[in-house]
């Protein structure tokens, strides 16, 4: 019983964490919280199922194509919903534009795909019970993703350019960095990371149009817990959320589990207002 709670808790946690990283990746270069993050996760599952089950493509084609399609959605988001409202960030109009795009994605999926959850293929036929691939795949994907991101950000020139833009947009532009291109690239990257969340968690979450809202919601929590823009924090926050949520599902039942999750979340935030791993507030004067 404990094995199953821990396995599913870690798996869901890893998916939430990946969505959290998706939020962070978009936020870093644009200072925009894009509500398309969860929809990207949903599309990862739907595209995976569409390509591999309906069209019969093998994994080696299905996965890259899914990532590519979601990266495309990410780029479109940047052009349609982010770029036009960057000028007036403090009006928070991006909430509206990104939500509108999220709603467009969700409605098209509901009508053209299905309103019922559809199957997602088994990928490797590996493991059973608590070690079933559906549990460890998201965790492994999360580990690989964060390692790759750390490598990108710390070891490569383009990664450092990302960091520079994230740190100080104006300074980066003054240095001659192609800030706009980097932003588009980060949205493409976020699309792919969101797709990975949905794809690796496809067997758990199924290819279901309503997953978008769910992931939007619970993917935001690791971001807040870990501190805005902090990917390592998002992973710890995500895994903690997954474990706590599944344990709460079991102990207090489905109705009050989300109450328990949010009560704890609010208490934690009030104790640590910048998130558990966020930087302290910068000096104001």
């Amino acid at each position: 019983m404990f094995a199953s709670i821990i396995a599913s808790g870690l798996a869901m946690g890893a998916i939430y964490a990946l969505i959290g990283i998706t939020y962070n990746t978009m936020f870093a270069t644009s200072r925009v919280m894009s509500f398309t993050a969860g929809q990207l996760g949903m599309l990862g599952g739907v595209f995976g199922s569409l390509l591999m089950l309906r069209l019969g493509l093998p994994l080696v084609l299905g996965l890259p194509l899914t990532l590519l399609l979601c990266a495309g959605v990410g780029i479109v988001t940047e052009f349609v919903a982010v770029r036009p409202v960057l000028k007036s960030l403090d009006q928070h109009l991006y909430v509206l534009t990104t939500l509108a795009v999220a709603l467009l994605i969700q409605q098209v999926t509901a009508i053209e795909w299905s309103t019922e959850p559809q199957p997602f293929p088994r990928l490797f036929e590996l493991g059973r019970d608590a070690w079933d691939e559906k549990y460890w795949l998201p965790v492994a994907t999360c580990a690989v993703t964060i390692s790759a991101l750390e490598f990108l950000y710390r070891r490569t020139l383009i990664g450092r350019a990302f960091l520079a833009v994230a740190e100080d947009n104006f300074a980066a532009r003054a240095l001659g960095l192609p800030e706009r291109t980097l932003r588009v690239a980060s949205y493409a990257m976020a699309g792919a990371i969101g797709a990975l969340a949905g794809f690796s968690g496809g067997q758990l979450l199924l290819a279901f149009f309503a997953n978008g809202q769910l992931l939007n919601f619970y993917g935001f929590i690791p971001v807040a817990l870990g501190g805005l823009g902090n990917n390592r924090g998002a992973i710890i926050g995500g895994l903690a959320l997954g474990l706590f949520q599944q344990a709460a599902n079991f102990t207090v039942g489905g109705i009050f589990a989300s109450v328990a999750v949010f009560v704890l979340f609010i208490v934690v935030l009030l104790v640590a207002p910048q998130g558990l791993f966020g930087a302290p507030a910068s000096r104001r004067v």
Partner: protein, 602 residues
């Protein structure tokens, strides 16, 4: 008594201009109200329903607008309070826990309970920033609906319960509409009163210039609690009316989408506006109805339309309606201070003996920023504070105005102890200041910006302001009059209705000084006021500062322009590495060897 005061204090041109401005501001609202009142003549029950719904949503949004649009807090989950109101009204009217209450009593109770909940939901805003706060409000929204689902004996659980049915004449479609429209109009009036009072300006100040807000004595917690109570009550009453309109409520009526609708109505309306969010609410209620004939694709089209609307007017509806600020400003404007106006502005003398600082030590971690500073600023004198970069000049200002709490030392102002820290109490003691980078409210007019400086002089409370009672009106007139005088004194009176973010940098410096003069300060702290000014402007600035000091105000001036310092200062203190290098009159400093070699000579 009251009449006499007004006649004495208000310049004769003031009153008619203000009322004309108020009237033209109110005109669009009256037009909307008139159209709404015509609806029963042309519309059927369907339009009554949609219009009632829009009215109810606006009752909530009008309160939320103060939080989101004015205070800039991202309260996304306001459906929580809407649901609390709906359930409170329904449960009390049905008599599920207590003996059944009459419907209007239940509605009132819904407002009270939601107001209290509003404070609970809102309080994290005092500790959390933007997204973090947004997330907690969403958390409350989830908690409320899940509790409604689980608490079957009271809320009816999944199958819910009937909404309160109101007595005649509000039991008909148009009767209910009339009630909701009336309450919506009342809420519009109340929020407008608040928005255009010192409380509304203070809210916007905490949003766009929170440091300056504190320096002007605006206590964010008090202010926000008042607004959360109001917005909560509005949301609760709206929820109760919603339950009546729906006739039946279940937890699944209180969706995330509904919560977003409230929030988006404010965003799409534009910040710091009331008309904008009102139109936004109407738009968001009507758009889905227009798209409805498309059945399955209706929500898609609704989302697409939203996107198009934002792309067409990225500033929100309010910016689109702001015709005044589209007029081109003349390029060759000149700032011409009129120190004569200071006479009226700084007439009443404060009992002043000046500022004394003794042995102040402040270090950040291992770095000592101020190392045993003694400083005394006499009333009626201009005291220059100079020194190389990093010598602790601005830090000293921040210690005086309470942003930094020194580890040692003490300060007295006008003979009484000036407690360290607590920046929000400084304005009350007559300490006013400007900032190195001007901290102004870009979206507010020049006049409004200056009026923020007079926030604490108001006597009327939150409720009085909300209901526009005489004392509040008097406050407003007095503050506006002083602000106009202050603008005249610094030479910006021609620009009083211009949005502040359209001003040039040099004008903003004078604007900050005008704001600092609102309280009749005993100590005015100026942080590099001449930075970015032309030679001509610096000269006028010097004369202005001198004139201010001549009215008994002690001025502490941090500046790099040596000419200005030596021309207007009575005393100069030179800092280096947080220590006093030299002090004396300009003549003495000019002769000081170390100063000359280390600083002036360079």
């Amino acid at each position: 008594m009251a009449m006499d005061e007004r006649v004495q204090s208000a310049p004769s041109h003031d009153a008619p201009r203000a009322s004309l401005g108020d009237f033209s501001k109110g005109l669009p609202f009256l037009a909307i109200l008139a159209l709404s009142m015509l609806l029963p003549l042309i519309g059927n029950d369907y339009w009554a329903l949609i219009a009632t719904r829009a009215s109810i949503y606006w009752i909530l949004v009008s309160g939320l607008n103060l939080i989101v649009g004015f205070a800039g807090q991202l309260a996304i989950g306001y459906v929580a309070l809407f649901a609390v109101g709906a359930y409170t009204a329904s449960v009390l009217a049905a008599g599920n826990v207590l003996p059944a209450l009459p419907p209007f009593a239940a509605l009132g109770a819904a407002g009270v309970v939601s107001a209290a909940m509003g404070v609970v939901v809102g309080l994290p805003a005092l500790r959390l920033r933007t997204f973090y706060f947004a997330m907690t409000t969403l958390g409350f929204a989830t908690i409320v609906t899940q509790v409604a689902l689980g608490w079957q004996s009271v809320t009816g659980g999944g199958i819910g319960l009937s909404g309160p049915s109101l007595p005649a004449p509000f039991d008909t479609t148009w009767g209910l509409y009339g009630l909701c429209l009336g309450l919506a109009a009342l809420c519009t009036w109340m929020t407008a009163n608040l928005a255009y009072s010192r409380f509304g300006r203070a809210l916007v100040a905490t949003r766009d210039a929170d440091v300056a807000a504190e320096a002007n004595g605006i206590a964010k917690p008090h202010l926000l609690i008042g607004v959360f109570l109001f917005a909560g009550a509005a949301a609760g009453v709206a929820g109760g009316l919603f339950a009546s309109l729906q006739t039946y409520i279940t937890p699944d009526a209180f969706t995330f989408d509904l919560s977003l609708l409230f929030f988006i109505a404010v965003l799409i309306g534009g910040r710091g506006s009331i008309l904008g969010p009102l139109l936004g609410t109407l738009l968001l209620t009507l758009l889905p109805e227009m798209a409805a004939p498309l059945a399955a694709w209706s929500t898609f089209v609704y989302a697409a339309l939203l996107l198009i609307i934002v792309l067409l007017m990225p500033g929100g509806i309010a910016t689109l309606l702001d015709f005044d600020n589209r007029r081109v400003l003349s390029d060759n404007r000149v700032i011409l201070p009129q120190p004569a106006a200071l006479g009226q502005l700084l007439a009443a003398a404060r009992p002043a003996t000046g500022l004394e600082m003794e042995g102040v030590v402040l270090s950040f971690g291992g770095v000592t920023a101020i190392d045993g500073l003694d400083l005394s600023v006499q009333p009626g004198q201009v005291h220059g504070l100079i020194g190389p970069n990093g010598s602790g000049k601005t830090t000293t200002l921040n210690v005086i105005s309470g942003y930094f709490r020194p580890q040692q030392g003490q300060m007295t102002l006008d003979g009484t102890n000036l407690p360290t820290g607590l920046p929000v109490l400084r304005a009350g003691r007559g300490v006013c200041r400007t900032f190195q980078t001007p901290r102004i409210i870009g979206a507010a007019s020049v006049l409004q910006n200056v009026m923020v400086g007079g926030t604490i002089t108001g006597r009327a409370g939150f409720l009085e302001a909300m209901l526009s009672l005489p004392r509040s009106l008097r406050d407003e007139r007095a503050i506006r009059m002083r602000a106009r005088l202050a603008l005249q004194a610094v030479g910006l009176h021609a620009l009083e209705n211009v949005r502040a973010d359209r001003l040039q940098h040099s004008e903003l410096r004078f604007l900050e000084i005008a704001r600092g003069l609102m309280l009749h300060p005993s100590l005015l702290l100026l942080d590099e006021p001449a930075a970015g000014l032309s030679a001509e402007e610096i000269k006028r600035l010097g004369a202005l500062i001198k004139a201010i000091s001549e009215h008994g105000v002690g001025v502490l001036l941090v500046e790099h322009h040596a000419d200005l310092i030596f021309e207007i200062c009575d005393q100069i203190t030179v800092l280096n590495l947080g220590k006093v290098l030299a002090r004396g009159t300009p003549a003495e400093i000019r002769m000081h060897k170390e100063v000359v070699s280390a600083y002036l000579g360079a």
